[in-house]
């Protein structure tokens, strides 16, 4: 694709010909995908289309049988583990909000802050003024300043989603993978989340997997449709929605 074109900027994420099988079932089938730096991409597709498996492959949880996954043009992600990939600057938000329930909101953010990751340095780490300031900023951004001392387990569902996004931002990722961020949210929360993601996209590349079409519409970005482990269609939302194959397998019924 564009990879041969030297004038184009290096893609932040380059996925080519990736296949993953589980006991003969092809979860991903020759999947190819390119995300440009600073781009936000929405990925849609029916259940079992391979969205979560794709995320697993990018973040190092699942190794592809064949195929290339490259970050920033030249870093081969298929050789690295989750921790190394996270440290490179790829953040992942789970479908179900996952925060450290028995830590306070502030501790959750502190642990997420980019920087110290080695056991020994962490053992002797003290919170710096800079860290404190960054945590306060993130609390502000995610509207959790009031709740900073509460245990994360006591937050509401929507608050947990936001805290998790805040934790991802604390990691300072260059690329953010977000799995169904608005599942289970109210309409108002959904709209606010869309705004938050657009805001985040100003400084980072974002890949959003989502079922909610109004939310995807609100994002207003290029859409990739996955079906049976490979790309069915790609383009602006209205163009994709008009695609006959897409209507057949996904939208129409």
């Amino acid at each position: 694709m564009q990879i041969g074109d030297t004038s184009a900027p290096k893609p932040i994420l380059y996925v080519d010909g990736v296949t993953v099988t589980f006991d003969g079932f092809r979860a991903l089938n020759d999947l190819s995908l390119v995300i440009a730096p600073g781009e936000m991409r929405a990925i849609i597709g029916p259940n079992g289309a391979g969205k979560t498996t794709m995320m697993d492959v990018i973040t190092g949880k699942t190794r592809p049988d064949v195929g290339t996954v490259a970050f920033n043009g030249d870093v081969d992600l298929t050789k690295l583990d989750e921790a190394a990939i996270a440290q490179l600057g790829i953040g992942r938000k789970f479908q179900k909000p996952t925060v450290f329930e028995s830590h306070t909101v502030r501790d959750n953010l502190q642990l997420a802050l980019a920087g110290l990751r080695k056991p020994f340095t962490v053992l002797f780490a003290k919170e710096t003024a800079k860290e404190r300031q960054r945590i306060d900023e993130l609390l502000e951004l995610t509207k959790l300043t009031e709740s900073h001392g509460r245990l994360a387990g006591d937050l509401s569902h929507g608050q947990k989603q936001w805290l998790e996004i805040g934790m991802l931002l604390a990691q300072e990722p260059a690329l953010l993978l977000v799995d169904e961020p608005v599942a289970g949210m109210t309409d108002a929360e959904t709209a606010e989340t869309a705004e938050l993601l657009v805001e985040i996209n100003k400084t980072r590349s974002v890949v959003v997997v989502e079922h909610d079409m109004t939310f995807v519409k609100a994002l207003g970005v290029k859409v990739t449709v996955l079906h049976e482990g490979s790309v069915l269609a790609e383009g602006p939302l209205d163009q994709v929605q008009a695609n006959e194959r897409v209507i057949e397998v996904y939208l129409g019924r």
């Binding site: 830590h103 997420a112 056991p119 780490a125």
Partner: protein, 384 residues
């Protein structure tokens, strides 16, 4: 200053250490400074018994560090305890010298009995106290490191990990029963005479060992407290609550687990080393899987993930065991088994987690005032 930072607002830690200090001094003084017929006299057997409880408390503490804070349920910690005990036992055997039944200046009695001509290589150096003490920490530590490295690297977690730790201690149990292993087989190591030249049977030595156990417990407790309150400890809790989240955040979870597991094994080894001179014997029975599971229950009874709870649980359960097996031996297994079920079903937070809650409830009812509970809760163990 340092103390204040260490304990933060938690009064429990101070209370615990204060109680430990008072009991230690009191028991020591009442044993050594009062005549045997005095009503206040603490008999020597009681000193040894309390010393044994303290060693169990250290073992429980080490289990709490990995189970309560990292979520690793080890059913093989008894193995580390026993290995530390064997290292100490080997030193004590070498100390017997020519006073054994067969009078061999170097070889322990059981080796003479087996017709061995010279000391096996792995017994060399154990006549040196410092070397033996290094081994007390090193042997369990290395075993835990190798075992943990393999297990955590391949992400064996949860029940699977529990089952293979149990298999580990079972394999060691079988191995140590063998005579040709060179650790005394079935009978283990016993008939110890003295430690660092002091006779083990004297009251003074008993009290000294008891005090050493109390000191070790206090130090292990402070170490655990410091670790769990550090950012490192926060990562441990993070691993317990959401392992994959921690991983996707860039923490290499294996390293944290391995560090905690190894340290915990070393603590268990130290506990075993203090235990052996006080009970006077170490045999393969200490490797029995049931011992390890029992130790986990002490932690559950006292309150998982609270540190103090582990020590309290170990002491309470073992006190109960001493009383029961003395009065109604056939009921002890009913009581112990019932305790397992009761605690897991009805008291998941253990004594330390539940008692303050009850007190709060009673207090607020008394005051007819449903005010908010001011006290921050101890970190809750998350559902698996």
């Amino acid at each position: 200053m340092i103390m204040k930072r260490l304990f933060g607002s938690d009064a429990m830690a101070l209370w615990f250490l204060a109680c430990l200090l008072v009991v230690t001094v009191l028991v020591g003084v009442l044993n050594l400074a009062t005549p045997a017929d005095s009503a206040l006299h603490v008999p020597t057997y009681l000193v040894a018994l309390l010393g044994k409880y303290l060693c169990y408390a250290i073992l429980a503490l080490s289990i709490d560090l990995v189970w309560g804070y990292v979520g690793i349920l080890s059913l093989g910690h008894g193995a580390f305890f026993a290995l530390g005990g064997y290292a100490m036992g080997m030193y004590l055997m070498r100390q017997i010298g020519p006073r054994g039944v067969y009078g061999d200046p170097v070889l322990p009695d059981f080796m003479v009995f087996l017709n061995w001509k010279e000391l096996p290589w792995y017994w060399l150096g154990f006549d040196n106290f410092l070397f033996a003490m290094v081994m007390v920490a090193l042997v369990p530590g290395i075993l835990a490191f190798v075992f943990g490295y393999l297990a955590f690297r391949s992400r064996v977690t949860g029940v699977y990990l529990s089952i293979i730790t149990q298999a580990m201690t079972y394999a060691l149990l079988l191995a140590f029963f063998r005579n040709d292993m060179g650790f005394g087989g079935n009978n283990g190591l016993t008939d110890f005479k003295d430690l660092l030249g002091f006779n083990l049977q004297t009251d003074g030595m008993r009290v000294a060992l008891f005090a050493a156990s109390a000191l070790a417990l206090a130090l292990c407790y402070l170490l655990c407290l410091w670790i769990t309150r550090s950012r490192f400890g926060k990562v441990l809790i993070a691993v317990r609550d959401a392992e994959s989240r921690t991983r996707f955040m860039g923490y290499r979870v294996e390293g944290y687990k391995l560090a905690a597991f190894t340290l915990s094994a070393v603590m268990a080894g130290v506990a075993g080393a203090l235990y052996v001179p006080q009970v006077g014997i170490i045999n393969p029975g200490e490797f029995a899987p049931q011992n390890s599971i029992e130790a986990v229950v002490w932690v559950a009874v006292g309150g998982r993930g609270t540190l103090v709870g582990a020590a309290v649980g170990a002491i309470v359960v073992n006190f109960g065991k001493t009383v029961f097996t003395g009065v109604l031996p056939e009921l002890w297994l009913f009581a112990l088994g019932g305790l397992f079920v009761f605690v897991t079903l009805l008291m998941p937070k253990g004594i330390v987690g539940t008692v303050p809650q009850l007190l709060d409830m009673m207090r607020s009812r008394k005051a007819q005032n449903a005010g908010e509970t001011a006290k921050p809760e101890a970190p809750r163990p998350a559902a698996e």
